[in-house]
Symmetry: C2
Subunit: 236 residues, 2 copies
């Protein structure tokens, strides 16, 4: 005598699928926007350039999976990361039915450091305007990520995620020029960014690029949060 439910069970007949995450990792070398890519080590398509990714484990969130990949390869924990899009064409991976959730991220590249590894994958930073073909639909992902980055940089202060905590105005200008791939008038840029009140000027100068030296600033996170709460929108 078992109790009988009049309803069906939601999961009856549902077919499980492999789920992966892929990470688009952007960096900035001082003048150009860079993308971190990897030599694929597994078949099919071993030896070809690829984004870094991983399958999502049974008891792991997708965001956690992406975070895991990023921290494994960089050793850094607090990386700016956003979900980009979920790619689910049944033909996208010829080897198996895999859907992939792509995440894009911004990291503060130390130009001296090139050893971004997961295990012994070979990686390299490439200019975003000199991208080689990537495996599967990874090139498509990158293009979408670049567009999303531009869109986001227009409305949120994320340029700061690509440069050191302490930076100069010319440095900040350079990031935005790299992101938007166009020249920005430095006088207008200065006015706009200073008017926002989001930069804290330090007493120090970076003299590596000029005799005069350029004042160092830091981003005012606290003020940005306060402003955001009362409906402020950052705009470049």
């Amino acid at each position: 005598m078992s109790s009988v439910s009049p309803t069906q069970i939601a999961y009856l007949g549902a077919e499980p699928i492999l789920v992966a995450v892929d990470c688009i990792v952007f960096g900035f070398d001082g003048s150009k926007l860079k993308l971190l890519i990897f030599k694929r080590e597994v078949d099919p398509l071993a030896g070809r350039w690829s984004l870094i990714g991983s399958f999502v484990k049974k008891n792991e969130g997708i965001t956690e999976a992406a975070s895991r990949v990023l921290s494994e390869l960089s050793g850094i924990e607090d990386i700016y990361m956003e979900q980009l899009h979920c790619y689910g064409n049944p033909q996208r991976d010829s080897g198996a039915r895999v859907i992939s959730v792509a995440y894009w991220s911004l990291i503060k590249v130390d130009p001296n450091r090139t050893n971004f590894h997961i295990k012994n994958h070979i990686s390299t930073w490439i200019d975003i305007d000199a991208m080689p073909g990537l495996v599967l639909d990874h090139s498509k992902m990158v293009i979408m990520a670049i567009n999303r980055l531009k869109e986001r940089a227009m409305h949120k202060p994320i340029g700061f995620e690509l440069i050191p905590e302490i930076f100069t105005l010319p440095q900040l200008l350079n990031v935005y020029e790299a992101i938007f791939q166009r020249d920005i008038d430095d006088r207008n840029f200065r006015k706009k960014i200073m008017k926002s009140g989001l930069l804290i000027k330090t007493d120090y100068k970076d003299k590596s690029t000029s005799k005069k030296g350029s004042f160092l600033y830091k981003f005012n996170d606290k003020r940005y949060k306060e402003l955001s709460e009362i409906g402020y929108n950052f705009e470049i």
Copy 2:
């Protein structure tokens, strides 16, 4: 004597997961933005309000799955639809590990028509400002979808997707007021929308709301495409 590959196979050890799509369906009744929700018929949580969704089949794309759901319920084929976000918290569905890819869509509601069904699911249109609690993380999805809709409506001419092919300016104004949930100055709205050159004025008037009647317009898809190609950005 079998050929031995020195590389591993990508899929070894990967754990398959259930993948679903959920659809946020927006409509417009002439004055308010509406959301289409359904009485859930399957356990767990049978009887509670829910978005409409489906599991993704083994050989079906995720976009196709979402399109399938939308056309099954509406009978309409060309519905404006965008991917929203992929939700993958392992605790989001207590019954099984399911990741869900949410899609949001805009449909031209015939106010007389209320019978949106999949099989015999009960559905209803509700005001977006009077949303009942929904199952799982569906309320979160709706909130995100409303924000995305506002964002999109600001930069793309999607207000048109919620009203008939032929419409009046006051009608169009009303859609945008409903989307942005604020009053819009009709004189400024007129100027902006007419300046874009994206409306084709017809010789006909809709006299249902006034003695004078209001001219009917249609959206100029062709011109919009042309403008988009040369870098035009629609803005409200």
